[in-house]
């Protein structure tokens, strides 16, 4: 009989299920969204909650150490640098 450590078993399970989601067709994804009454094509659709927009506790967002805050800040700085560079090269 196999005895599986819970954390290893979970990781194996998640990896296998990730493959299922990677293999799901676009049609299946849109059908699941439709079943939930979501319209992903609409701007601000709840289907994209947490993806293209998110809600955070004000206090948490003010804390620059939160992962989302750090990630957003880093990308904004990188984009600003790129814009700056392209402005320089075009002038």
């Amino acid at each position: 009989m196999k005895t599986t450590r819970p954390e290893r078993g979970l990781e194996r399970l998640l990896l296998a299920l990730e493959q299922e989601l990677l293999g799901a067709s676009d049609k299946e994804i849109l059908a699941a969204a439709a079943q939930l009454g979501m319209q992903p094509a609409m701007k601000g659709s709840s289907a994209l909650f947490g993806v293209t927009f998110a809600l955070q506790w004000r206090a948490a967002e003010a804390d620059p150490r939160t992962p989302l805050h750090k990630a957003a800040g880093r990308v904004s700085r990188m984009r600003a640098r790129r814009t700056h560079k392209s402005d320089d090269s075009s002038s």
Binding site: L17, L21, L22, F49, A54, L55, R58, A71
Partner: protein, 199 residues
Amino acid sequence: MKPLINLDELPGQLEKVSHPPAAQALDARLVTPVELLRLKSIARLHARGLPPDVSWTDLLQEAFARVLDGSRRRPADVPTVAFLAGVMRSIKAQHWKRVYRGARRSVKWLAGMGDLPRGELPDPAPSAERQLIAIEEVRALTGLFADDPQALQILSGLYDGCTPEEIRSAHRLTVIAYESARKRIRRALLRAGLRSFAP
């Protein structure tokens, strides 16, 4: 009809974070809206094994941030969604390492206080915490399929690291029964993954 929640008029301490990295990736046409939905489901799935202080949104947005800032580069032969899923897995592993490092530091600090053995002592607490989280999450995942014994047989086999052939032969499932159970699993995972507030 007035919407139940107007995101532009949030009460109290909640605040809308506009244009996080995933939205920027969509603008840059790095991904399509359907791919974003797929990634949302995958992030939700992997968040089941995350330390409690990190959310699925953190995982997803950090993965996009790393791709956008160039710290992770996608090999030409790997599809974008599969690559981002891999980045999320690696971020998850880093979060667990961080939790373990923190625990080792605290044990080191304690070791300096008296006549305890030198060096880093393994602290069983994070491992116990991770095991507890894993048990809870496996329970939550299997709960999605409480009325589907064939899906549960497949999940149990995957948990034990069995191949599809082993699972089919252990539970005497035909190829058609196995494939149709897989389809039900995919649908249920997508529904759970796309919900705004999933259990």
